[in-house]
């Protein structure tokens, strides 16, 4: 399933709400929490991480991973939390607006 434009940043922020993760961990978390519907290309995720970091919405530091390897872990900053709240509200509004238009699936003859 393809992502809507701009939703990747929101997904990353939402995923990090649960706690800090490294880049590969984020990809896996999105994959699993979407019940494997969303398979994020790491090639697109990584630039998104850097973009969010440059905006100051997430921060990173080196930690030991579960495999006892050093990895860079990303976590939400207070600005990131605010941004997530904002994006979330926008998202909800968007979904309900689209929902109002689409309604229950009409019977399509033909």
């Amino acid at each position: 399933m393809d992502l809507l434009q701009g939703t990747l940043d929101m997904l990353v922020l939402r995923t990090l709400l649960a706690g800090s993760l490294h880049g590969y961990g984020i990809a896996k978390a999105i994959h699993s929490s979407s019940k494997e519907a969303l398979d994020i290309e790491f090639g697109s995720l990584y630039p998104a991480l850097k973009r969010l970091e440059a905006k100051g919405w997430i921060a990173s530091d080196w930690q030991m991973s579960e495999h006892n390897r050093r990895a860079k872990y990303y976590s939400l900053t207070p600005a990131g939390r605010k941004a997530l709240a904002r994006e979330h509200a926008n998202w909800a509004e968007f979904v309900s607006a689209v929902g109002r238009i689409m309604g229950p699936l009409p019977e399509v003859k033909g």
Binding site: H22, F42, Y46, P47, R69, A71, K72
Partner: protein
């Protein structure tokens, strides 16, 4: 991302750290996830870097680095291309600075584009100043302007030492708000206070930076007393160096309030209250929302109202508003013609230089075909490659314009010597300033597009497979050089246009050299004095000049002495308004404004101005006797065609003025410029028309320059305070006005011709040499088959000559189109003698033959065995 955040990523240290971190991070993630899981990590990193927002800069820097390397590897190509461009852009920049000084430079005020010129137009004169009462009414009534100022220029005798005679200084008398509206602040001292400019009060003056520099250093200049025409003014401030007043060619030294007019002139009535005195220059700044159209409409209405209210002084006067540039063009249309011609010719030079560089680039494109083919085959986009090649071109152009500024500087130094010696000095502000630098950058960008785009496109469009296969040399045999041939033909054609223009100016110059002046220029010296600056009454002035002439006659070495109001060819000519008897004026006009002035009885024989009919003035034409006048042949021809002018009558000045009878007709001469169209002239006898200022003409029997000191003494012995100026021999004036201008024009156009010729010939040589190098094998076979050296030389020569001939034919056609435009712009430039049309093509052919001979000889010297083996 905020600008600040983005800027942080520009710091090299920051970038290095980020990149290292990213590499480490990705390596460890790859170890956790396994390689295939994460995909192309290099691409991920590349995209992450792109989020910094500087990729365009990175690729630009890479392009520039690459271009540097490419250009450095071919120093000869680089040098030739840069030199071509430097010559052309330098010439363009120098001419631009000249055009800037003549016409284009904006007023030295803040926001000059919002400043407009307001003037009267009458049927006889499109430019008449306003009177102060009219200006005041305009300021009250007009809604278009947020501010209006008025000023006038005059010459005053200025001195700080009450005992010494004054020096002639150009002075501006300025209205309220003059400096605030110009946005000019004094660098020392203060500006005028409102009460100082609105009414005559404390006599205060501001001085120019130049004048301040002439004061002895160390002492404060503010508070000093400056005597202007004998009246004491206190200096309150010094203006910045950048402010030279609102007029071209002159820089006032002194600024005083217009309100001082009456006291300065010691006049019984205030000249500012005289509505008939139309001598103020008026400029205004528009309100936001005003346009030229709305202001024009409003001023027309105000003008009509003023005319209705004051029919005596404002009859037939229309109020007009125009931009500064329009005003300058209307004032000096001949300068516009000059500027257009010079800019046009240097633009041709730039085109020649650009085709030269384009030619070099095309030759280089073949040599680089292998490199380009490799880059294309490993996936570089054509668009990207064009950008790369254009970066190289742009660097060439910038290097050319940088080096061109040195040439421009040299040219500007030469142009700065263009000046007429006069007091106060005229000032032609040719200078190397930011405008010139900006112009040369613009020329660089334009030329880069001109010479770079086509070759770049051609380069990347080539068939790169065959280029790779043939090892970079491309196919051998007859090289296809149609495009390059066309470029060279065009270069020669344009060079020919410029050379023929130079030939026309040379012919004009030679005509000036052999032209017999219309008056005596040898053994004559002239001197100006201005008794009105010392507030002489008319009677005192007459007495002064009578005594002066008598005294000078007694100086040993003096042959004869005469007086005139204005000397022919001096830059300031006086005009007269006359109504010739019996002449039907076109509707709307009622008088003729022509050159003219008062002369005494000795003028015609001293200056040897030829009388064609009737008689010259005599001592008997004095005040009280029958009023007489003389005209020149042009005047007689214009106003009394096919009639005898002798005995005709002229009414002077305004309707109701005195009438004079024509007693003599002088030969038509040149009055303002040697290349002017024949102009009408009216002479009046001095004794019947006394003037406040006269020029003394003294004929010597030896070197006239030795009379300078005795003449000065003669004036001093009559009045020690009298200012003396323009003490110069007539030959000096004549040379600078007549031959000087033409010589300088010829030098300018001639230099352009030489540059154009050199560039075109370099182009031709380059192409012929290139063809030879491409045909080595063919020529080798020919020699091996028994072709003589002569045959080979001719084979190569022929090519050069064919190109040159084609260029000459095209150039001839172009010239046929351009020459009439040149002649229309310049009175005195006649259809150039047929010689020019023979000499220029012949010279072009000879130079082309010589340029082709060098590669031709090289071709003939080829060793056939070696060339064939090398293949």
């Amino acid at each position: 991302m905020s600008l600040w955040n983005r800027l942080k990523y520009l710091r090299p240290a920051r970038r290095r750290r980020e990149e290292r971190e990213m590499r480490e991070e990705l390596e460890s993630l790859a170890a956790i996830a396994g390689n295939n899981e994460l995909g192309n990590l290099t691409l991920a990193m590349e995209n992450a870097r792109a989020t910094w927002g500087w990729t365009w800069l990175e690729s630009l820097v890479a392009d520039i680095r690459y271009a540097f390397r490419a250009l450095r590897s071919q120093p000869a190509f680089f040098a030739l291309a840069v030199l071509s461009l430097a010559l052309a852009i330098g010439a363009n920049s120098a001419i631009f600075s000249f055009a800037d000084a003549l016409l284009l430079r904006p007023l030295p005020v803040t926001d000059p584009s919002a400043m407009f010129d307001v003037a009267y137009a009458t049927p006889d004169n499109p430019f008449e100043g306003m009177s102060y009462p009219d200006f005041r009414d305009l300021r009250e009534k007009s809604r278009s302007f947020s501010g209006l100022i008025a000023y006038r220029l005059t010459t005053l005798a200025a001195t700080t030492d009450p005992a010494a005679p004054g020096q002639i200084r150009l002075t501006a008398l300025v209205s309220e708000h003059f400096f605030p509206m110009a946005g000019v602040e004094p660098v020392i001292g203060r500006g005028f206070l409102p009460e100082e400019v609105s009414a005559p009060g404390q006599a205060v003056a501001m001085i120019s930076h130049d004048l301040w520099q002439q004061f002895p250093g160390g002492e404060p200049v503010t508070g000093k007393t400056l005597r202007l025409n004998g009246m004491a003014f206190t200096i309150v401030g010094v203006l910045p160096e950048s402010f030279g007043g609102l007029d071209r060619f002159v820089r006032p030294s002194i600024y005083i309030p217009l309100a001082m007019s009456q006291r300065l002139a010691a006049a019984p009535v205030d000249p500012l209250e005289d509505r008939g005195r139309h001598n103020l220059v008026v400029k205004g700044r528009f309100n936001p929302g005003s346009s030229l159209e709305s202001a024009r409409a409003e001023l027309a209405t105000i003008g009509v109202a003023l005319e209705r209210e004051y029919p005596k002084t404002n009859h037939n006067r229309r109020l007009t508003v125009r931009t500064e540039l329009r005003r300058r063009i209307q004032q000096t249309p001949q300068l516009l013609a000059l500027v257009k011609m010079l800019m046009g010719l240097v633009a041709l030079i730039l085109i020649i230089a650009c085709s030269n560089v384009a030619n070099l680039l095309l030759a280089r494109a073949r040599a680089r075909s292998r490199e380009i083919a490799i880059r294309l085959s490993i996936g570089a986009g054509r668009r990207r490659l064009v950008r790369q090649l254009m970066t190289e071109s742009l660097m060439l152009a910038l290097a050319g314009s940088g080096a061109g500024l040195f040439f421009a500087y040299g040219g500007i130094r030469l142009l700065q010597t263009l000046n007429v010696p006069s007091e106060p000095p005229s000032y032609l502000g040719v200078q190397l300033d930011w405008r010139v630098v900006e112009f040369s950058l613009l020329a660089a960008v334009a030329s880069c597009l001109l010479f770079g785009l086509a070759p770049a496109w051609q380069t990347v469009r080539m068939d790169f497979l065959s280029a790779l296969k043939s090892g970079g040399q491309g196919s051998t045999g007859h090289p296809r050089t149609l495009g390059r041939d066309a470029l060279v033909v065009g270069q020669i054609a344009l060079a020919m246009v410029v050379l023929i223009a130079a030939g026309m100016f040379l012919a004009g110059f030679r005509r000036m050299l052999v032209m017999v002046p219309d008056f005596r220029t040898d053994h004559v010296i002239t001197m100006d004095t201005a008794p009105e600056m010392l507030h002489y009454s008319p009677e005192q002035t007459k007495a002064f000049y009578r005594r002066l002439v008598d005294r000078v006659r007694t100086i040993s070495g003096v042959e004869s002495v005469a007086m005139t109001e204005s000397l022919p060819l001096s830059p300031s000519q006086t005009a007269l308004s006359v109504v010739p008897e019996g002449y039907e004026f076109p509707k709307g006009t009622e008088k003729a404004t022509v050159f003219g002035g008062a002369v005494d009885a000795h003028y015609f024989d001293t200056l040897r101005v030829e009388i064609r009919k009737g008689r010259a003035f005599t001592e008997d034409d004095r005040a009280g006797s029958r009023r007489v006048a003389m005209v020149n042949e042009q005047f007689a021809k214009t106003y009394w065609p096919n009639q005898d002018p002798l005995g005709k009558r002229l009414r002077l000045d305004t309707p109701g003025g005195e009438t004079a009878e024509v007693v003599g007709v002088a030969k038509t001469g040149h009055y303002l410029l040697v290349n002017e169209a024949p102009a009408s002239y009216v002479y009046l006898p001095y004794e019947q028309n006394p003037r406040a200022r006269m020029t003394l003409i003294v004929q010597s029997n030896g070197d006239p320059a030795t009379l300078a000191a005795p003449l000065r003494d003669a004036v001093r012995s009559i009045d020690g305070n009298m200012a003396i100026f323009n003490l110069r021999t007539v030959s000096t004036l004549y040379e600078s006005r007549a031959t000087g201008t033409w010589l300088q024009l010829f030098q300018m156009v001639g230099t352009m011709g030489c540059i154009g010729l050199a560039l075109a010939v370099t182009g031709l040589y380059g192409l012929v040499a290139y063809t030879v190098s491409r045909r080595v094998k063919e020529l080798g076979i020919r020699v091996a088959l028994g072709a003589s050296r002569k045959n080979v030389v001719w084979l190569v020569e022929r090519r050069g000559l064919i190109l040159a001939l084609a260029g000459i034919v095209v150039g001839g056609l172009l010239t046929a189109a351009v020459a009439p435009m040149l002649m229309a712009g310049f009175v005195g430039l006649n259809a150039s003698p047929p010689g020019v049309y023979v000499i220029v093509p012949l010279a072009l052919l000879m130079v082309s033959a010589a340029a082709s001979y060098v590669p031709a000889r090289r071709a003939a010297a080829l060793d056939p065995v070696r060339t064939l083996r090398d293949e």
